[in-house]
Structure formats: C-alpha cells, structure tokens
C-alpha cells in the first residue's frame, strides 16, 4: 500500500505541471507578446475621418484663383443595405443599373462593414433631391466634401489639378492617404500638396462584434478635428495671366513673366491651354482622356517642357561674357560684310552692317558680331586649346541657368540642352574648334532652352548679375511663410558694371529706329528686349521675344514664344509689350486695344502636328495619337500663316 500512497505525489505533480503550462502560455500571450493587445484594438477601434477643405490659392493681389465648392459623395455600407428600389436610386443620381451593380460590387470588395464611396461628387441639386428620399435607401448616406473650382478658368498648367489617389500614391505616402482621398497631381497642387491638403480629422469610435457603434474611444482623447489646408498666395497676376492666355489663343507657344527682384512668376501661359474646371468633377476622367488625345498636346507644360533654340535672344550673353572676360570692350568694332566665314563654314547675317560695335550689334541683332565675340572667347591665349576654352565658356553659360533645371517648384521641368566639350570630342574625335560650334554664338545648333530659362536670363540681366530661383508661390499660409531658397541670389558671374552697354543695346533694339523689336515699344516705359527668329527645321520659324521693363528698376522680365509664327517682331514682341504694359500701367491705352484684339483673333496652329515639343507624355502617346491625328489634320487647317521675315 505504501508505494501506492506515493502515487499521490505523481498525481499532484501532474496537476502542478499542467498549471505551470497554462500559466506559461498565459504569460506569453498576455505579458510577453503585444500581438493580441494590438489585435484587440483593431477589433473594436474604427477611425472615422472628416475631410478638411483644401487650401485656397490666390493670385499675388489676393484674388481667388482656386476655391472650393461643396459636393456630396454617396456612401454605402454594404452590410446595412436592405432591399430597396434600385431603379429609383439610379434615376436620382443618374446612373444605369449596370453601373449600379459595378459600384456596389466595388464597395463590397472594399469592405462589407466599412463605408465606401458608392458614387462620388454629386452636385448640390442631385444632393437635394436625393436627401429627401435617402430614408428609402437603407445603408446609403451622403458625405460632404469639397472639390476645386476655378472662377476665371485660367492657369490650368500652373495650378495643376487634384485627383483621387492611386494605389501607388497610397503606397508612397506610407499609409497617409487612404482610398478616396484626393491628391495634387500636377502644378502648384502637386508641389504644395502638403501645405494645401490640410489635416484630416479623426474620430476614434468603438464598435461591437456586430459593428454597432458603442461610443467614442477614451472619451475622445485621441480625436482630432479637421484642419483646413493652408492658403497659398501664388506669384501669379490674374490680370496678365488672363490677357496672356487670350493673346495666345489659337496659337502654340508660351509666355513666362518673372518679377526680377523676387523671382516670382507673374504669368505662366502654356498654349493651347485648357479650362482647369474640366479636371474637376465626375467627368474628370473623360475630359482628361480628351485632352490627352488633343493633337496640339494640350497637357504639355510648354514654359518648362518646351525646347527652343534661344536664337538671337542668346546674343546678350555673348556680349556679357565677352566683356567680363575682357576679350571685347563696349567699343570693340567688327566688320560685318553680311556673313561670318571661317574655313568653309559661313554664318549668314541678314544685313550688311559694316563696322559694328556692341550696342548696335545687339540692336541690329548682328550675327557676325556675335560670331566674332564667340571666336575671341574660344581663342583666348590663357587656354591650352579651344576645347578647354569651350568648357570654360559652357560653365559660364550654365551659370545663367541654361543646360540644367532651374529648380522651379513645379513638377516636370526639363533641363534644356547645352553640351560640354567631351560631347563634341566624342562626336568629332577631338578635331574640333570654335568654328565647329559657331552656331552656338547665335543661340542655334545644339542648344535648347525652355521659355522659363529664357525669361530667367532676362531677369538676371534686369538685376545686373543675379537671379532668384523662379517660383510660383509668394507665401504660404496666414503667416506668409517664404521659403529660404527664394531669398538667395544666384550670381551669373558677370560684374554689374558690364551690363550697362548690353542693356543699352537691348533698349535700342526696342526703341531706336534701327532696332529689330520696335513692335514691343510702349509709350512712357523704357522696355529693353531682344527678338529672336528661331530656325525650326520641322516647319515655319518660331517667333521669340525676350525682354524686361522698365529699364531702371525693372519690374518684369518676360519671354514670349509663338511657334511657327515666323519673325520675332511680328508676334512675340507685341504680345510681350501688351503684357508688360498691362502689368505696369494696369491698362492698355485705347490706341493699342485694336492691336490686342487683332492678336487675340489670329490663328496659328501647325498645319501638320510635328513632334517639336517632346515631353514624356507626348512620347508615350504619340503612337496612340497617330490615328486620331490623321483624322484631325483637315480640321485644323490654319487660317492665316505669316510669311517669314528675317532679322
């Protein structure tokens, strides 16, 4: 019996061991691991969001460019939906039953218990008729949010648009965005997304196992209310933006105007443009596709994506670098027989100017003068060879913001084109010199600049030696925050003293009888400028004008490009003058209004769409467009084509 009595300990030992196993497991799931605690939180906690109004965008004079308009999303909680009159609902919100089924399935896939958007952006009138009958549709409710509205329908490229977030956006934001949120896709909306979007409000609610709300979590300690997005004061001036868009109507081109002292962009016209209101609302997708298919590549942001040879507008840089390097002074004279010839290469000049110095050379836009300066620059004795001299020159030019992005706060800016010596050495296997690249002297050849870069050069000349990084926004929020980088001066490596004669030459170009840009003269304002007629190997020449005004204490630097419009003096120069006059005087005198109206009516659209402006979007779509282009060729027959005139 004794040894059987010992079995008591075995039984008791087993009880103890099993209890320890239970306690060990409990210790693991309760104390050691927080996995279960977190699951419990996600079981009961639902975050309900309230949407902030997106920040309003104003122009520099605080006139509204973008505002918000209430719309109503029809939401659904699939689990709460009971039988109802499907047709009645479809009728009210204007969809068919196929769409209804599709929407419902989508909502169901997202979540059975959580609300998801059933149909978005119902207008106020639909909302009104719906709200009366909403009780008949259990499981459906309306959530208000705001969409963008553009009172003047201008500056679409500049402002950009917002769109529902894509899965990639959500992924990239590391969970900030949730399906159904809106995000800036281009323009200011994208660049200033974080300031504009505001902060979502959140209400933490507790839900029971049957998904019935049971009150707020921790007495609302962690709840926040929505904070509206920051108000942006953009650099744009509605008056000249609007005028610019009207002037470039039915033409392809760009206008960029910059306030030289601040780098603020006053006008940013990309033509053909589009009404930004098209990128809002339920038709956004369809409208976008239409714009994408437009043969004139409406969605290209030409001021920062269009590539143009700077042409004659490059010549002030030749002179300035020449002066700075000391290879010329303001009185250095060259003889122009109507061409500049080196070896068997001839650069033609359209005038026979005879002996010509700096001021007149710029005013007359003399190619020969520019070529001589370039030759002198590249043949300086201090350099071992011309290739090294070229690299030195190229670096000097790059200081002006050419050949690289300026870093404007707008997505999609392109670099332009300006090669260094190694490119040519590779191309010509080292046997090259100034004569090989002589076209660069007159802003042609292997050099491309965006309209923004051209306008920026003018801003730097107006400032006599520096520019501020061009930007779209004057200040952010109620405290008028300005980014530090927009206070920094970027020097272009030419002393202020050298600017006098060059500016004289540009003043003469506009204001003297022998100038090439007489069409840009403004009464009472001394405008300094330079025309360009940019050779276009694919069609008619582009008309270019760059300049600034007034001469003393300049307020506006401007670049105007009108594609296929021929001579710079005919289109680009007057357009620039109207805009400058409007900006400086706030009105255009009656005697010039006829010209403005005439300009607005001109139609200069390319007879054959050619890939002059290559943007990513254009390249991708070019194949798709091919078909639709053929069909539309007849439709866009140009009504008037201006004959080419030469400088």
């Amino acid at each position: 019996m004794d040894n059987l009595f010992n079995r008591k300990y075995i039984v008791q030992g087993l009880f103890i061991v099993v209890s320890l196993i239970l306690l060990g497991t409990l210790f693991y799931i309760q104390v050691f691991s927080d996995k279960y605690f977190l699951s419990a939180e996600s079981n009961v906690l639902r975050k309900l969001y309230t949407f902030p109004a997106r920040g309003v965008i104003l122009d520099r004079n605080e006139k509204i460019l973008v505002q918000n308009e209430p719309v109503y999303d029809l939401m659904v909680i699939p689990n709460d939906v009971k039988e109802f009159d499907t047709l009645a609902l479809c009728g009210i919100i204007g969809i068919d039953t196929i769409k209804f089924k599709k929407n419902f399935k989508k909502a169901l896939n997202q979540s059975r218990y959580q609300p998801s958007i059933f149909e978005k952006q119902l207008s106020v009138s639909i909302y009104q008729s719906l709200s009366e009958k909403l009780y008949r549709f259990p499981g459906f409710f309306v959530q208000s949010r705001t969409i963008r509205q553009y009172p003047d329908s201008i500056a679409g490229h500049f402002l950009g648009y917002i769109k529902e977030v894509s899965p990639t956006d959500i992924e990239r934001s590391e969970g900030y965005y949730r399906p159904g949120d809106y995000i800036g896709k281009t323009g200011v909306e994208k660049a200033y997304e974080t300031a504009l979007r505001g902060e979502r409000g959140v209400v933490n609610m507790l839900y029971d196992a049957h998904n019935v709300p049971k009150g707020s979590y921790a007495e609302g300690k962690f709840d926040t209310s929505a904070v509206s997005g920051e108000q942006l004061i953009s650099s744009l001036d509605v008056r000249i933006q609007k005028l610019g868009e009207e002037l470039l109507k039915n033409k392809v081109g760009s206008i960029v105007a910059i306030e030289p002292a601040t780098g603020e962009i006053l006008a940013f016209v990309s033509s053909p443009g589009y009404d930004p209101n098209l990128m809002v609302g339920r038709q956004q997708g369809n409208n976008y596709m239409d714009l994408l298919k437009n043969p004139n590549r409406v969605l290209n942001i030409r001021p920062i994506q269009g590539y143009y040879s700077p042409g004659s507008s490059f010549k002030p840089l030749d002179a300035l670098i020449g002066l700075q390097e000391g290879v010329i002074d303001e009185n250095t004279t060259f003889n122009c027989p109507g061409y500049f010839r080196v070896g068997n290469h001839t650069t033609k000049c359209e005038h026979v100017d005879g002996n010509i110095a700096l001021r007149r050379g710029l005013a007359r836009s003399c190619n020969t003068y520019a070529c001589y300066v370039f030759q002198k620059l590249l043949m300086q004795r201090k350099f071992k060879n011309q290739r090294i001299a070229y690299d030195y020159w190229q670096k000097k030019v790059k200081l002006w913001g050419l050949g690289d992005t300026l870093g404007i706060d707008l997505p999609g800016e392109r670099k332009g084109r300006l090669y260094d010596a190694s490119y040519y050495s590779k191309k010509y296997s080292k046997s090259w010199g100034y004569s090989t690249v002589i076209s660069l002297a007159i802003g042609q050849g292997e050099m491309d600049a965006t309209p923004l870069q051209m306008a920026n050069i003018m801003a730097a000349i107006a400032n006599k030696g520096y520019y501020i990084k061009p930007h779209l926004v004057k200040s952010i929020g109620k405290d008028h925050v300005i980014r530090k980088e927009y206070l920094k001066r970027n020097y272009v490596g030419v002393d202020a003293a050298h600017f006098g004669p060059v500016i004289d030459g540009m003043q003469e170009a506009v204001n003297s009888p022998w100038g090439t840009a007489l069409a840009s003269r403004i009464d009472g304002i001394i405008m300094c400028g330079k025309t360009g007629t940019v050779q276009n190997p694919r069609g008619k020449n582009h008309s270019v004008f760059i300049g600034f005004a007034p001469r003393d204490n300049p307020k506006i630097a401007i670049a105007v490009i009108v594609e296929n419009a021929g001579y710079g003096g005919t289109y680009a120069a007057p357009i620039a003058s109207y805009i400058t006059e409007k900006y400086l005087k706030d009105s255009i005198p009656p005697n010039r209004r006829g010209g403005v109206e005439w300009m607005k009516k001109q139609v200069i659209l390319p007879a054959l769409p050619k890939p002059k402006v290559k943007t990513k979007a254009a390249l991708i779509d070019s194949a798709k467009k091919a078909d639709s282009l053929k069909k539309s060729i007849n439709a866009i027959e140009p009504k008037k084509v201006i004959d080419k005139k030469n400088d």
């Binding site: 039984v11 309760q30 279960y36 605690f37 699951s39």
Partner: protein, 422 residues
C-alpha cells in the same frame, strides 16, 4: 442525529475548501456580470439576465451543498448503484426526448425555462459507483477482469454522451483513470495513453518518412539495451510495431471517422490551418481578449472585447477570456492558483480518509475538476481543441454549477465523516 453530533460534523467539515468554492463562485458571478453587462441596465439583481440567474444558481447551489452535508454519509455508498442507474437512465432518455442545443442533444427540458443536462450529473453518479466498486472488491487492477469492469462503469456514460454527440463531456470520463491509477492500475496505462496522444499529434506535424524511422531508432535502442532480458526486449519490439500501426490507424480514422468540423478543429489547434473568421474564430477572439489583458488587465467592466461581444459563448465556455482581459495575467494567476490549491487540497483530503470509498471518491472529484479546468482554460488560450466544457464553479449555467457542487459537497460530507465508519 443529535444537535451535538451535528455540531461535531459541521466542525469537521473542511471549511477551507468551502471558502475556495465560494471564492470561485464569486469569480464566476463577477465575470458573468462583466460578460453580459450593458450600461443601460446594470442592476445587480436583474434576474432575467444571466448574472441574475447565476446569483440564484449560486445561492441554490449553497443550499444544495449544505443539504448534502446534512445527509447521512452512508447514503452515498449504499445508494451509489441507484444514483448511477438513474443518471444512465437520464442519459438514455435525453437521447430520445432531449432538446437539441448547439448541435448536441444534451438537455432535458423541465418546464419553466429550466433545463437539465444529464451528462453533468453522470459524473458524480459514475464517481460514486466506481468508489463503491473499488471499496467493495479491492481490485488491484492487475487482472484484465477488474480493469474491464471499472472500464465498463466509466465507459457506459462515456459512450452514451458520445452519442449525443458531446465529445467534450465524454472525454471528461477519462479522468477516472486517475483514481484507478491511485488504486493500483499500472502506470503504463497512463504512459500508453500519453504516448497515444503524443503520437497522434506527431502524426499530423511530422511526415511519416521521418516519424517511422524515429520510432524504429528509439525502439531499436530499447531492444539493444535489453538484449539480455528477452521478455522486455520482446515487449519493446511489440510496442514499436504497435506504435507504427497506430500511426496508420489514426490517419485512417481521422479521414474516415471524424466529421469535417472536428477535423478542422484539430488542424487549427495543431497550427496546420489558419482560419480567423471560420471555426477558429472563437479561439482567436478568445486569445485576443486574454492577450489584451496584459499583466494587470483592463479592469472590471473595462474589457472592450468582453463588452462588445467579440468572444462567442463568453459567459459559458469562454468565461476565462473575460477573466484574462479584465484582470490580466495577475487575475489568471489567482484563478489558476485557486484551482490548483483546491485540487492539491482535495488529493490531500482524499489521502487522509480511512475508508477506501471516500478516498477513491475524493480522487474522482479532483480528477474531474482537473480535466475541466485544464481543458477549459487550455481551449481558451488555444492549446487544446475547442470541445466545449465548462469551467467549474465559474462558467454560467445551473446544471454545471450544481453538478460540481454536488460532486464536491458529497466529498466534503464523506470527509467530515472520516472518523466514523461507512
């Protein structure tokens, strides 16, 4: 019985056990209150609610328990065959007229909303008869006949309950192997039983091509060790062969005999299947609730999982999840500590009995409680398949509370009478 005698009896009753009993009932009441609590109606005496009813059950249970203390101790031994017979009869009746609740035909309706679960009462019926058999015949379980007879006593209710079908309650009857072991049943039976469980689990987790060589190596080792003792060597060879055969039988039985939902439950426990919304929902939600209690718990009535009904069957089979969530590891420690203390005390009490009947019965009580506690808490924390048996004294329900009360108080009565003769 004179007053004096009665006083002596009450003095002999083990009040410590009664205090633990009352403490566990209180834990049950508090946690049932928390499980079904809603802020709109928090009256403690709402008798239409589960906690209100539980309060009645507890009070009635105490009355029942103390009534048992007043009975003559000889009664239990003498009437044990009749009690056993009645409970078996009830188990047969329930199969015929029983009400089907949750897939099991386990309830007899008594009218007035009260229902009886005969399987609960079969436990002490069987315990009494087993104690009577062992005390009367002193079998040492060395022969097959006595093992078979004892096996029959626990086998009849086991099979009848299995037919309901209520595998969980039926399994509890295996607890009677402990008193048999105490009375002389070879420890090998328990080891074989344990081995069967280990092999069963291994059968699912380890592929046969690994498992069979492993068994052969272990078997071979024993054969080699005992090569001088022919008899032992022979047994080792036999056990190895049976073990391998067993593996195949289990596989076969698993696929042919078990129902799909039973298979799923087993697979979930073994971690072969992840199914958060299906069959495993109970266990996952229960683990989440318990785990969210962390060290000290969320506090009384603060458990979100408990309050918002995430754990099914929360006041009955999964009551432990409420304890875990609201009282944390500390609370679980206290409850398991109380149970362990009770179990160890019951064994000690059993060992101090002079009569074999009382000792065997005491072992039966401890073993049954042990099975319930281990399986119930084990399933709440996901280490035992969900077989739906209540946590003694704590889970909501009159039948289970009363049957455990009767089970325990009969032993307390026997214990208080230990100096006398039965």
């Amino acid at each position: 019985m004179t007053n004096q005698q009665s006083n002596r009896f009450f003095f002999n009753v083990d009040w410590i056990t009664i205090l633990i009993y009352i403490a566990l009932c209180a834990v049950g009441y508090v946690n049932i209150y928390a499980s079904v609590h809603n802020t709109a109606d928090s009256s403690v005496f709402n008798f239409s609610s589960n906690y209100g009813k539980q309060l009645i059950y507890v009070i009635a249970g105490l009355v029942l328990g103390f009534s048992i203390l007043l009975l003559d101790a000889k009664f239990f031994s003498v009437f044990s065959p009749i009690v056993y017979g009645v409970t078996v009869l009830l188990l047969i009746i329930v199969l015929v007229v029983g009400r089907n609740v949750g897939g099991n035909q386990a309830w007899i309706s008594l009218g007035g909303g009260f229902r009886l679960q005969p399987s609960e009462f079969a436990k002490f019926g069987t315990a009494l008869l087993l104690a009577r058999y062992i005390s009367s015949f002193s079998p040492k379980f060395r022969d097959l006949k006595s093992i078979a007879f004892a096996g029959l006593i626990m086998g009849i209710p086991l099979v009848l309950i299995m037919l309901q079908p209520d595998a969980g309650s039926a399994l509890v009857f295996l607890a009677f192997m402990f008193p048999m072991y105490r009375e002389g049943l070879s420890g090998y039976f328990l080891l074989i039983f344990l081995g069967m469980i280990v092999l069963f689990v291994a059968d699912f987790l380890v592929p046969l091509k690994v498992l069979i060589p492993t068994i052969l190596i272990i078997g071979g080792f024993f054969v080699y060790q005992n090569k001088r003792k022919q008899k032992v060597m022979f047994s080792a060879i036999l056990v190895t062969i049976i073990a391998i055969a067993y593996l195949f039988v289990v596989k076969l039985a698993y696929e042919k005999v078990l129902k799909p939902h039973q298979r799923t439950r087993i697979e979930l426990i073994l971690g072969l299947k992840i199914d958060p919304k299906g069959v495993g929902y109970n266990v996952i939600q229960s683990k989440i609730a318990i785990g969210s209690g962390q060290l000290t718990g969320r506090g009384f009535l603060q458990g979100t999982q408990t309050k918002y009904g995430y754990v099914p069957a929360q006041s009955t089979d999964f009551i432990f999840s409420t304890i875990g969530e609201e009282w944390g590891f500390v609370g679980c420690f206290v409850v398991i500590g109380l149970f362990l203390f009770l179990l160890l005390r019951l064994i000690n009490l059993a060992e101090r009995q002079r009569s074999t009947f009382s000792r065997v019965y005491g072992y039966c009580v401890a073993s049954i409680l042990f099975f319930h506690v281990f399986i119930n808490i084990g399933m709440a924390i996901g280490i035992v398949p969900v077989i739906g048996i209540p946590l003694p004294f704590i889970s909501y329900g009159g039948s289970s509370l009363w049957s455990f009360t009767i089970l325990l108080f009969i032993f307390l009565k026997l214990d208080s009478n230990r100096m006398g003769f039965i």
